[in-house]
Symmetry: C2
Subunit: 252 residues, 2 copies
């Protein structure tokens, strides 16, 4: 349980991340330089964009030949056909298309706009960033590196901004998790009045991603936030644990 | 913009809240007693349950006579017909019914399970709590009282736990907001690379609610969290600003 003070510490001073760079070493160094060295049981929340950059998950639109289907969608919605082509390639299926928005299910199982393909915060206007191929694996790798380099156990959350039905605006959610359970399960636990919290499973990793976003901001270069003092749920979770089972999803 | 350290400070020592009690006075007192007095530009996040209790938004199921329609639903889903009756009364329409879950649009416009009617954290097992009649008004009232009593300007967020399509687990979102804009709007602002953040509107009040939940936990009596150090978006926002316009909602 939490109920101690939690600190959201933005990490400054990270350089523009280039493909092949050792992101973990850069994060450790940046934390040290600003005097907030990583500590045992920190949660390190990292925006997907810099993980994708480090992993080279970038596509130059000048190299993309859109299919006739992509061209048709692009024309209908006044979009870049090359971008649509990438969105389709990154998707497993199209969930909805309307109002100029393409909502897909990604190969990971996430449902989001444009398969998570995004042109913001990329230096070259003709280059877009894809989601990491497996952001749970990315998170696992970063956590393992931190263990090896510093000898401490931390949790890692890789975050991205997703829209939601019914509610306006986007919020950051977890697309990669390592070193913690992605959910906190209160099923069959009792509240202070003895009431059985039958159906209460908190999407803890999503809440950590949203909390960290508050300390990031979109216009500054703060792609990493350290969450300190949070007693995160133990376990070997994955962000894909947060994907609702199709047979229980009423809004497929 | 944020990018300074943010603190999530759980408020302990609040008593069980009873109808008619002055919630603001109790919060101010609890903060003072634990040495974390409210400060200018804090965000005070308050769980809906204690607001509903203070406002007497409690229904004794023993006083409820379910309609034939409520009885039919209750029988199909093995629910308490009296509870179903309240859920229907609190709703504007039913969005989906399946897997034993009733998802409604509340009279406020929120889409959530059971119209937000909930039996957890209520002392009497036969009494359920409804959402505040107008949680934006509740938030406004609490903010005004804090201004009057302490002479400081704070933002207030009233939170509740909602499920989401596609993603498992629930997260806390804002059902009431006062003293800040509910969203942070980056439309037409540029990222560090000059990219136009065309469609980026963050649901800031929802992220504040989720962040605060991390410091609350469900099993302890921590219904209030002070978010300190967050440069929240200025404006006179409402939680209902976060309700997506029906004509733009692809999942009605």
């Amino acid at each position: 349980m939490a109920s101690q003070e939690i600190r959201l510490i933005p990490l400054r001073g990270l350089p523009e991340i280039l493909p092949g760079q050792d992101l973990t070493a850069l994060i450790i160094e940046a934390a040290r330089e600003q005097g907030t060295e990583l500590q045992e049981r920190d949660v390190v929340v990292i925006t997907q964009k810099i993980v994708s950059k480090a992993e080279g998950r970038l596509v130059d639109l000048r190299d993309v030949t859109p299919s006739p289907f992509a061209c048709e969608i692009a024309e209908t919605y006044a979009k870049d056909a090359r971008l649509v082509e990438i969105v389709l390639q990154e998707s497993r299926r199209i969930v909805r298309m309307d109002h100029g928005v393409i909502i897909t299910e990604t190969k990971h199982g996430f449902v989001c706009a444009n398969s998570g393909v995004d042109a913001s915060n990329v230096p070259d206007k003709e280059v877009v960033a894809l989601l990491p191929e497996d952001a749970d694996r990315s998170a696992f790798g970063i956590r393992s590196s931190i263990m090896n380099l510093l000898g401490i156990d931390v949790a890692v959350v890789i975050s991205d901004s997703f829209g939601r039905p019914w509610r306006d605006g986007i919020v950051d959610v977890a697309v990669g998790v390592a070193g913690m359970s992605a959910k906190r399960d209160y099923v069959d636990q009792k509240d202070p009045h003895g009431y059985n919290l039958r159906a209460t499973v908190m999407a803890t990793a999503d809440e950590l991603a949203s909390a960290a976003e508050l300390a990031m901001g979109k216009l500054e270069r703060v792609p990493v936030v350290i969450v300190r003092g949070y007693d995160y749920p133990q376990g070997e979770g994955k962000a894909t644990d947060l994907v609702r089972a199709p047979e229980l999803d009423m809004f497929r």
